[in-house]
Symmetry: D2
Subunit: 347 residues, 4 copies
Amino acid sequence: MERVKAAIVGASGYTGQELVRRLLLHPHVELTAATSRQEEGRTLAEVYPRFAGIPGAELAFIQPDPQAIAATGATFAFLALPHGVAAEIGRALLDLGLRVIDLSADFRIHDAGVYEEFYDHAHPAPDLLAEAVYGLPEVRADDIKAARLIASPGCYPTSILLPLLPLLREKLIVPATIVANSMSGVSGAGRKADLSLLFCECNESARAYGVPKHRHLSEIEQELTIAAGEKVVISFIPHLIPVNAGIVTTTTATLADGVDPEAIGAALERAYAGEFFVRLLGKGRPADTKRVSGTNFIDIGWTHDPRTGRVILMSAEDNLGKGAGGQAIQSFNLMAGLDPTAGLQSV
Amino acid sequence: MERVKAAIVGASGYTGQELVRRLLLHPHVELTAATSRQEEGRTLAEVYPRFAGIPGAELAFIQPDPQAIAATGATFAFLALPHGVAAEIGRALLDLGLRVIDLSADFRIHDAGVYEEFYDHAHPAPDLLAEAVYGLPEVRADDIKAARLIASPGCYPTSILLPLLPLLREKLIVPATIVANSMSGVSGAGRKADLSLLFCECNESARAYGVPKHRHLSEIEQELTIAAGEKVVISFIPHLIPVNAGIVTTTTATLADGVDPEAIGAALERAYAGEFFVRLLGKGRPADTKRVSGTNFIDIGWTHDPRTGRVILMSAEDNLGKGAGGQAIQSFNLMAGLDPTAGLQSV
Amino acid sequence: MERVKAAIVGASGYTGQELVRRLLLHPHVELTAATSRQEEGRTLAEVYPRFAGIPGAELAFIQPDPQAIAATGATFAFLALPHGVAAEIGRALLDLGLRVIDLSADFRIHDAGVYEEFYDHAHPAPDLLAEAVYGLPEVRADDIKAARLIASPGCYPTSILLPLLPLLREKLIVPATIVANSMSGVSGAGRKADLSLLFCECNESARAYGVPKHRHLSEIEQELTIAAGEKVVISFIPHLIPVNAGIVTTTTATLADGVDPEAIGAALERAYAGEFFVRLLGKGRPADTKRVSGTNFIDIGWTHDPRTGRVILMSAEDNLGKGAGGQAIQSFNLMAGLDPTAGLQSV
Amino acid sequence: MERVKAAIVGASGYTGQELVRRLLLHPHVELTAATSRQEEGRTLAEVYPRFAGIPGAELAFIQPDPQAIAATGATFAFLALPHGVAAEIGRALLDLGLRVIDLSADFRIHDAGVYEEFYDHAHPAPDLLAEAVYGLPEVRADDIKAARLIASPGCYPTSILLPLLPLLREKLIVPATIVANSMSGVSGAGRKADLSLLFCECNESARAYGVPKHRHLSEIEQELTIAAGEKVVISFIPHLIPVNAGIVTTTTATLADGVDPEAIGAALERAYAGEFFVRLLGKGRPADTKRVSGTNFIDIGWTHDPRTGRVILMSAEDNLGKGAGGQAIQSFNLMAGLDPTAGLQSV
C-alpha cells in the first residue's frame, strides 16, 4: 500500500514532537515535511535526539511556507501552531489542495463572536468556520471521514466532553450543575522559556490557574450545548500538577429527576462500547493518568453519590495523545481511509 | 522559662516525624518521650538520620505504654496513631493527668453513630466525645485554651473548612451546591509498605480515590453544619498527585441570592485578618502548595464566576503542617499559654 | 507468517510488565502464557489496566508450572524471576524442549564459585552454565541465534559493558583504572512493598547504595575480563535517583600510553556502526535518560580530558528496555530468525 | 542584643531566595536591603509569596546601588550575583566600609590567571584576591572571623572538598587517582528562563554535563592542592537529576601505600568531630540528599574496597544550604561573633 504523504506544520513544540513520534512510526504514512521557524535546516534527529536512528528522522526542518510544504507532495497537513497563526496557514494549505488537521483552537468555535470573546482578537478566517469539523472521532466519525478541515479538540475539552456528551444527549444530568476540575501535566503549557514552567517552580507544586473563564470553555460549552439541545454553561477549573504528561478530570453533576443512577453506566456503554480508544472502567473505578500516558486511550470511570444526588465522572488521558497528537492522527486515519488504530497502538 | 514536657505517641509515621521535627526545635518544649512499637530502643536520630545532631535527637523510642509515658514527666501527649487505637491510649493518658492532642479521627466526630457509619466500628470511647474540642485554632481558640482533649483536624478537612466556614456563617453561599476537589501529596497516605504507594506507582500518576464517601466527610460536614446552622451535605473528591507534601483544594458553591460577590472577600477578611497562619491571597489569585510546604500556613484565594453564579475557593496547605503536625502544635501553644507561633515559624 | 508462541514466567514485576507490553504488540509473537503465583486467574488487563483493550490482554495468569506452560504450545520462555528460582524452572522448561531467555542472574556467571561468592548460595544448576550464552546481541549475535539458553544481562552491566568492551578489546584504556558510577531509576529496584521504595522516600532523594561490592560486579568483571584478555577488577557505584525508568552511567578510565584519544571514538564506531540499538553521540555529547526511556536504545557519548589523561564514557538506556525486557526480546528475535527490530521500534 | 544589619545584593535567584529565607528568620539579623534590577519597588512577599506574613517580608527591593545599600545601615552584604558582576559591586561595598560575603566565583581563585583560564575573561579586581578568604568554616574559622571579604564556596566544591581535605592533609590517598561524580538538583542551574531547565525537560531525565572541565574545578583543585602540599588535578563529572535541591557526590581515590583503611574514618573524625554541620555517617553508610535538604548539614559516609584498593567517599548537602546560602551565613555568624548555628537550625 502506498504511504500517505503528510506534513507537520509547527513541529518544534511538545504537540509537534508527539506528532513526529507517531507519524515516523505510522505504518501507512510518509512524513514529507516538518516546519519550524527556528530550526530550519536541522534534522528531526538533531532537534530531537530521541528520534535518532528511526527511519525518516533525517528529514530536515523547513520554514512554514505553504508552497514549499505542498511541493513535498504532502496531501495532509497537521497544524501544531499558536491560535491566530494556524488559521492563516491553514487557509493557504486548503487552497493548495491539502486536507488540514488543525490542533489549534482556530477552527473549533462555530461562532466567530464567541471566538473573539474568548481569544481577544477577531477571527482570522470566519468563512471557514462552517466547514470545519470538530474532530472527536467517537462522536463525528462520518463527518471527519469526509472533511477537508478538522479542528482537532484540545486536551481539557476531550477529557470533559467524552464522559459528558452521552449523559447530556440522554438528559440524565442537570446541565446547570456541571463542575469540571482538571489536573494537567506541565507539557500542556507548551515548550516555552517561561520562569513559571521551570522544573523547580513546577516540581512539588500544585495549583489552579486560569479561573474562572479559561479559553477552552468556549469549545467545551459549544459541544455540550449541541448535545444537550439547550444552552449549557459550566464551571471548569484547570490545575497544574508535576507530571510530564496526562490529564485527569473529575466532573460532578446532579442526576436528573427520576433517573436511575445505573442509566449513567448504560449510556456510556451505548456510546462507547465499540470504540477502541475509549475504555470504560465501570462504576466506582477511578481513572489514572499513568495507565494512559504514551497512549491514545481515554479511560472513564463513574460513580453516584446517593447522599448528594450527584454523578461523579472520572476520566484520564495523555494530554499529548488522546488530548492532542493521537486524536489528530485518529481523525487522519478516518480521513485517509486507514485502519482507525494505525500508528496508535502503543502502550 | 521552663520548658513544657511533651510526648509523641506514634512517632514513626510521617505525621509523627513532622511532630518530632517541630518539637525538637520548639523553643519552649522538651520532648520527653517518643513511642513506636517497632523502633523501641533506637534513637530518633537512628530512625530519622535527618535529625542527627539536633539536640534531643538522642532520645530513644519506647513502647506506647501510658504509665511509661507519664513517668517521663510529660504533661502533654500528641497522639499520631491509627483511629481506634488512639482513643484507648488517649483515655489512659487523660486518666493519668496529661492533656491530649489527638491527631487521629477518634475524637473528631461528636456523634458516635456517625463515627460508626464512617469508620465501620463502634466508637471506643463515646463518653469522651462531648469533652473533645475540634481543634481549629482560628475557629475555637478559647475552647482550645481550656481543653483537656483536642481532636486535631485532618488535612483535607482543614483545607476545606477554613475557606468555607465564614461563608456559611454569613449565609453567602448555598450549602447544597458545595463541591470540593482536593489534590494531596503522597505523604497523606501514610508511611506504610503498600505497592500502590511505591515511587514508580505514584510518580507520573494522578487519580481520584475514595469516592463518593471518604471518611473525612464525617468531620467536614459536621463542622459545616455547625457553621451553617442547617444540615450540610457536600461532594468531596480527593485525588493523589506526585508531590511529597501539600494539599490544594478547589471548592465551588453557588452564591446565595442577592449576595454581592465582594462579600466573599470581606467575610474572609473579617474571619482571618488577625490570624498569622491564614494568608488571604485576595480575588483571582490561586493558592499553590509550593508556597506553604514545610510551613504552618494555609493560603486562601477566591474568585467569582458571573457566568455560572459560582464562587471558587482555592486553598493550599502542607498536609503534614497546617494539615496535621503544625496545627496540632498550634493548639498546643494555646493550651500551654505559649506564643501562638512558637516552633512554627519555618518557611 | 505464523506467530511464534512465547511465555513469560514471572510477569507481575516491572520487568515482567515490560515483557508483556512488548510481546502483546510484537507483530510475530503470540503470548500463550503469563505466570504469577499471586495473580492466578486474573487477566493481564485486570492486573495491568494499562493493557486493557489491547488484543491478547484477556490472557489469564497461570501458576509457574513448567508442564502447564509447555502445554500452551510456547516454544520460547522468558524468565523474569528472582535469582535462584529462575534456574530451577529454567531447567524444567529446557527439558520440555523450550528455548529459554532468563533475565535473572542465574546463568550469567560462567564460574559457579564466583556466583556463590556474590549471591551467597550454591549455584542451583552448575551443569547448565557452560551452555548459557551471555546475551549481549551487539557482542554475540551468532551465539545467541543458536542458543537454547540465554542469560540476558542486567541493566547496570549493559550500560557499563557496551561502552567499555571495544576499548578493552583494542587495549585503549588501562583496565585497573576503571571507575563506573551509575544512576538508576527506581523501577530497577523491583516492584515490592518496601518502605525504602515509597514515593515519599525516593522523591527528592539521591544516594549511593550497594557499595563497594554490588552483585552485578560479578558479570561486569567477567565480561570485561574476556574482552581485555586479562583479569579486570573495577569500581562500580550505583545510585538511586527519582525517575521511574532509565540508567545513566559515567565511566572513567585512563587512556593507555601512547594512544591517540580519537581512537576511542573510532573504536566505538567500528564496534557499533551497524547496530540499530546503539546510538553513538560522538565526542563531548552526554547521554540523557529521557531520550531512551520507553525504547530499546542505548546512547553512548564520550570525551577525553587531557588534564588527567582520562577518558569519560557516558551511556544512557531504559533499565527496563535495553537494560532488561527490550534486550531479552532482541535476543529472542535473533533466536527465532525474526527482524532484529521487531516489536522494539517504539520511541 | 542589637541585630546586625545586613543586605542581600541579587536577591531574586534561588540562592538569593535562600538567603532571604534564612535571614528573615535569623534571630540576630535585620535585613535592611534586598536588591534586584527587575523587581525594584516590589516587596519580598510580593515576589516570593512563600514569605508573606513573615516579619520583614514587607521590605521592598531596591536597585543594586552601593551607596543606597550602605545608606540602609547595613554593615554586611551578601552578594548573590553572576561572576564578573560581583567583583565590581563587592569592591564598592568594601570601600564603603561593609564586610562582604560573596557567593559568586569572583574571589575564590587566588591566581587571576587561573580565573581567566576557567572563566574566559580577565579578573575584574585582581588586587582583592590576596585578601579574600575561601569561606569553608570548618577549615578556616579563624581567617573567616577576621575577614573583610569572604569568597563563599560553591555547591559542588563544598561537597567534594570537605570529605577529601583531611585525607589529603594526612596523605592517606593518592591525589592523581581522585575521581568525583556529583549529582545536583536543578536549582543549582539557577532561576533563568531556559528551555533546558523546563519541568518537562528535566523530569524523568538524568545526564552528565560540563565535562571534562567544569569551571568549579578551578577552586576545587586550588583547595586540594593546598591541602595536599602538591599540585592536584582531578576528574569531576557533574550530573543533573530531577530533584529541586540537593547534591550527592561520590568520590573515589586509591588508598596510599601502606595506609590502614580505617585511617580514613579516623581522619574524618579528627577533622570534623566537633563540627555541628558536618555529620559523619561512618563506614559503609551512604549519604542521602533527602536527609539534608532544607538544612545546613553535610553528611559524609565512606567505605573501602579491598578488591580495588580504592576509598569511596559519599557526601550529601543541600546545594542552596551548605552549598550556598547556609554556608555563607555560617561564615557571617563567625564574622559577626554570633552563635555559629544561629539562623541555621532548620531540619
